[in-house]
């Protein structure tokens, strides 16, 4: 375990985290501590709304796939737990302004291994919402796009892609299945290929982060497709798609451009725009 390594955290949370860490490490020889079922790292995301910093606390346990439904809420009997993590302490804390799920700053640091099911669900749901807000909507507090989507998750993109596919499929009067399969395939494969493109251009972006980003940027196109589904006026469709297309591209732009060398920005961005434009055409052309 790295003892006393100092990762610069926000001051108000640093003390909390230090205390927790010290308690854990000091108590190791004496077996599972009654000390506290603390997580070895900074508290769960959203636990410490330190400031309005945009950094989302990144130690949310399950980054990928969360769900909106709850399964059984079993009672968790395991008492004293000392979760031991193998990795370093990386803890950019700071919730953003969103709702604090677990109010446990220091009082009762949520132990993610024994937390109630409902907490997990709520935490994951709020992450989807916060990611959406961060990526798609204009955010004056967003400091560094490269760091803003640290807290990636794939549920949001999953829902958006499926929704888009369903909308397109519904709008189609024939070959519904093919439309859906094509839409889903193109978007999923497109996201993967675009990510590889950025990586091959020497960009610094995590694979899943990029997938997550491209998926969230589909949200405006979802809205556009919905509008096209409801109203069948050609002019309206073109306008709606055009607007949402620019919105999508605008949302994706800062993240991609921050990730690559400035000289290669255009090379990285062009395929992204191309993909969104082709999806836009697909939406318009469906009848």
């Amino acid at each position: 375990m790295s003892h006393g390594d100092t990762i610069p955290l926000h001051p108000s949370s640093q003390s909390d985290i230090d205390e927790i860490e010290n308690l854990i490490y000091d108590s190791v020889p004496s077996g599972p501590a009654t000390v506290l079922p603390a997580r070895p790292r900074s508290p769960p995301r959203a636990a410490i709304p330190v400031s309005s910093s945009p950094f989302i606390n990144s130690n949310i346990p399950p980054p990928s796939y969360q769900t909106a439904t709850t399964s059984a809420p079993p009672k968790l009997p395991v008492p004293a737990v000392v979760p031991v993590s193998s990795a370093d302490f990386s803890a950019p804390t700071g919730g953003d302004k969103r709702q604090v799920i677990s109010s446990d700053a220091f009082g009762s640091p949520a132990n993610t291994l024994t937390e109630p099911v409902w907490d997990t669900v709520k935490r994951d749901l709020s992450r989807i919402v916060s990611n959406l807000k961060l990526v798609v909507f204009p955010n004056p507090y967003r400091e560094d796009p490269g760091k803003a989507l640290r807290d990636w998750d794939l549920w949001g993109p999953f829902f958006f892609i499926v929704f888009l596919g369903l909308t397109l499929s519904w709008s189609a009067s024939v070959k519904k299945s093919e439309v859906f399969a094509v839409a889903f395939g193109v978007l999923a494969a497109g996201a993967v290929i675009l990510t590889l493109n950025v990586l091959l251009l020497g960009g610094h972006i995590i694979f899943f982060q990029s997938l997550s980003l491209l998926g969230y940027c589909l949200f405006p196109l979802d809205v556009g497709a919905l509008i096209c589904l409801i109203k069948d006026n050609v002019i309206l469709k073109i306008v709606a798609v055009f607007v949402t297309l620019t919105w999508s591209s605008w949302a994706a732009y800062p993240f991609i451009s921050a990730a690559v060398n400035p000289k290669r920005k255009a090379l990285a961005l062009y395929p992204v725009f191309l993909m969104y434009i082709s999806v836009g055409f697909l939406i318009i052309a469906i009848d």
Binding site: P29, P62, P74, V84
Partner: protein, 183 residues
């Protein structure tokens, strides 16, 4: 609560075990039987993939924690690097884990992946690219869970060893100290 010779433990978390198996079975069953009832590929796709995604979440967040006391996730640190984190219960609690629970957990995890692979082979033989998409997604989810938990388990074992040696070392030191203080 370790096994006494002869007594058989029951599942100590029946509800979790049930859900752990339920979503997997539901996804597989729906996929297999859907051809009989639904002609629309869209419905098959969406429902199967949704069930598989739910299963992934349940295994990763619920049954992993409850049945075997393990958890894994991915984080991105300050430097923008991706870090895989593993978390496990302390040794005592791990030892107390119900053996039947963990047996069920691991076996269904592996069997699920194998089942999807077999279905994938059938799809290949029949040249149904659409269905391969479904199978691809479901397989990816299962394998992700398998890999994650296996690494987590290895990590947990390593830590137990470290912990044990640390405990022994510290006890040894304290024994020495008390011995010297007496002299």
């Amino acid at each position: 609560m370790d096994r006494v010779q002869g007594t058989v433990e029951n599942y100590s978390n029946p509800k979790t075990c049930f859900f752990h198996v339920f979503f997997k079975a539901a996804a597989l069953t729906f996929y297999i039987l859907s051809a009989l009832f639904f002609s629309s590929f869209v419905i098959i796709f969406v429902v199967t993939v949704f069930l598989a995604a739910l299963d992934f979440w349940v295994v990763k967040n619920l049954s992993g924690r409850i049945l075997v006391g393990l958890r894994w996730w991915n984080e991105i640190n300050e430097q923008g690097e991706s870090v895989w984190k593993f978390e496990c219960l302390d040794q005592e609690s791990l030892a107390r884990m119900n053996k039947k629970d963990s047996w069920l957990f691991w076996w269904t995890l592996y069997l699920n992946a194998v089942a999807w692979i077999i279905l994938g082979i059938f799809s290949l033989i029949r040249f149904q690219a659409d269905y391969l998409l479904v199978i691809g997604v479901c397989l990816t989810l299962s394998i992700a869970n398998i890999v994650g938990f296996t690494r987590c388990r290895k990590d947990a074992k390593k830590q137990i060893q470290q912990f044990a040696s640390q405990t022994i070392a510290s006890q040894f030191t304290s024994t020495l100290q008390s011995a010297f203080s007496l002299v």
